[in-house]
């Protein structure tokens, strides 16, 4: 994880600005103050970020060996044994495929809605903007677990206020439950993404629009040709966070296991990690975690590269 993605641009250019070959011994002003500021965070970051990542990698390289069937179990170095097991594990790749399908549909829908609402809030077309902004953001205050419990009731064939719909369409069936969960996630996060995009819109100086308006450009044209290109960085940011969130899906499907037997213990990669670790087979679970983290990283990083290339054109 040494190559971070999004905000790197500015760090990298800063590094370029300062000459690489600095004199070896430079006198650092205020070393004591710097230590006081940095050390608490650095220690905690090392203990609860770096060491766990290292430990997960270490653990994933171990295998359990027994002397005979009932002998004492010992952990020994097993090389990439666990990773071979990961790549041969059908349910794991099915769960990856499931969250990818989920992301391909849910992320564009959610961000499309968020963008639409942000543009409407920023246009002169609406009244009561304060109200809409708050109303759309409120679901973000509902924890994923609670949102899932709530929607679980709303989907249920006999308790729902919309029984006319839910008694005919089974949202909790094997075919639909993934999209029922997608709706819960969308419901929670649209307003949050809307606000990120909206605050990027607020930062655009209004003079930019004046010329376009004098030329007779309508709101739609201004939004499409001026606003959207200018807020692209914010949209990319929300995209990356959404991709990460999708691959990490856990709370909502875990809650839905109560409502629907179609959600199995291997439904998403993280559920897989959880159920494998409670067998317990921690080494395999650690290998799942490492592969999942790498997949997340590769995906969000290539998304960033892809969007940057498109912008560059």
């Amino acid at each position: 994880m040494s190559a971070p993605a999004l905000p790197v641009a500015d760090a990298r250019s800063a590094a370029r600005r300062s000459p690489a070959a600095r004199p070896r011994k430079i006198k650092v002003a205020h070393p004591r103050a710097i230590a006081i500021f940095i050390v608490p965070f650095a220690v905690l970051f090392t203990l609860f970020y770096l060491i766990p990542i290292g430990y997960a990698i270490y653990q994933s390289l171990l295998v359990v060996e027994r002397d005979g069937t009932f002998g004492k179990a010992t952990q020994v170095f097993g090389g990439l044994t666990q990773y071979i097991a990961v790549f041969q594990n059908g349910p794991f790749w099915e769960s990856i495929g499931r969250v990818l399908a989920f992301g391909v549909v849910q992320v564009p829908v959610m961000l499309g809605l968020a963008l639409l609402f942000a543009l409407l809030l920023d246009s002169p077309l609406l009244r009561g903007k304060r109200f809409f902004r708050l109303a759309f953001f409120v679901p973000y205050a509902v924890p994923g677990v609670i949102a899932a419990i709530m929607w679980g009731f709303l989907y249920s064939p006999n308790l729902s206020p919309f029984t006319a719909l839910t008694s005919n369409v089974s949202f909790l069936s094997a075919d639909l439950v993934l999209w029922a969960i997608a709706n819960v996630v969308t419901w929670v996060y649209v307003g949050y993404n809307m606000l990120i995009i909206y605050s990027a819109l607020l930062a655009i100086p209004t003079e930019i629009y004046e010329a376009a308006r004098l030329d007779g450009a309508g709101q739609l044209r201004i939004a499409w040709s001026i606003k959207i290109p200018l807020i692209m960085p914010a949209i990319v940011l929300t995209g990356i966070f959404s991709i990460i969130g999708t691959l990490q899906l856990l709370a909502e499907p875990q809650v839905f296991r109560t409502f629907s037997s179609a959600v199995t213990s291997t439904f998403t990669p993280n559920l897989m990690v959880y159920s494998t670790s409670s067998i317990p087979n921690v080494s395999l679970a650690a290998a799942f975690s490492v592969v999942l983290a790498l997949a997340t990283f590769v995906l969000s990083f290539s998304f960033l590269k892809f969007t940057q290339r498109k912008e560059g054109k």
Binding site: Y49, I149, L154, S199, I244, Q248
Partner: protein, 305 residues
Amino acid sequence: MSALTETPTATRTAKRARSNNPAPKVAKESPLSRIGAMTVMLVFTLYFLIPIWWLFIAGTKSSAQFTSTNPLWFADFNLFANIGNLVAYRDGVFLKWMLNSALYAGAGALLATLFAGMAGYALAKYRFPGRELLFNIVLGGVLVPATALALPLFLIFSQVSLTNTFWAVFLPSLVSPFGVYLTRIFAAASVPDELIEAARLDGAGEVRTFFTVSVKLMFPALVTVFLFQFVAIWNNFFLPLIMLRDETLFPVTLGLYAWNSQVNQIPELRGYVLIGALLSIIPLIILFLLLQRFWRNGLGAGSVK
């Protein structure tokens, strides 16, 4: 970045000026697009608020009326009786969960903000070897999702016999790489070097300058970091799920999850889950409303620049 320091009122008046004071020849928005825009927003207002409205209504009903009356309108108002029952159930374990959540999220977010703010400030305002490396590693941390760390954290905590304790959930939540990123950018833009220099001339130490002068200038960013960390901890599920066995240590999300998974065996829990869910979202809504002025402006800081 300039929009961040603007007060919301200033932004709003600027926008109003923009729409009320168009140049003479500019076409007015057609009433049709106004109606279209309002319709879209009103339909989605229903989508966002009806579930919460339903939950509130469900919370006011006795369990007999829950199934027999209109789910979206009041029957006999039993909200307070329901809350009383919930609080009394199993020696008030629900209240214990709410307090746990408040402690995990409140104290955790406060300390996380302090540490992230100090680190971000030092990264923005001091030059020292390894500064860029440190910042890049922290940025890598932004992309590591909390859930990916839960399992290895569990393994490490079990080595030192700290699983199933308060600390197992509390300590990992003190780290906010995103907070360092945000406060660094914000400090670079909003704390002038001249001001720090002036404080130095007045004889104030570096640390004191940070706490008396710089913190005030960084306040919007700090509130944003606090709020996001608070929400992240309050909503956290995986870490407590694998760390905790003792239900008196549960945060409210895990507690309600545990009840909800027993609803099929113990049907009376259904009512408690619903009223508990309602109560559990109120603190966050209040926090958002109280701090709106800050998060509205700070939120964009990460992406605007």
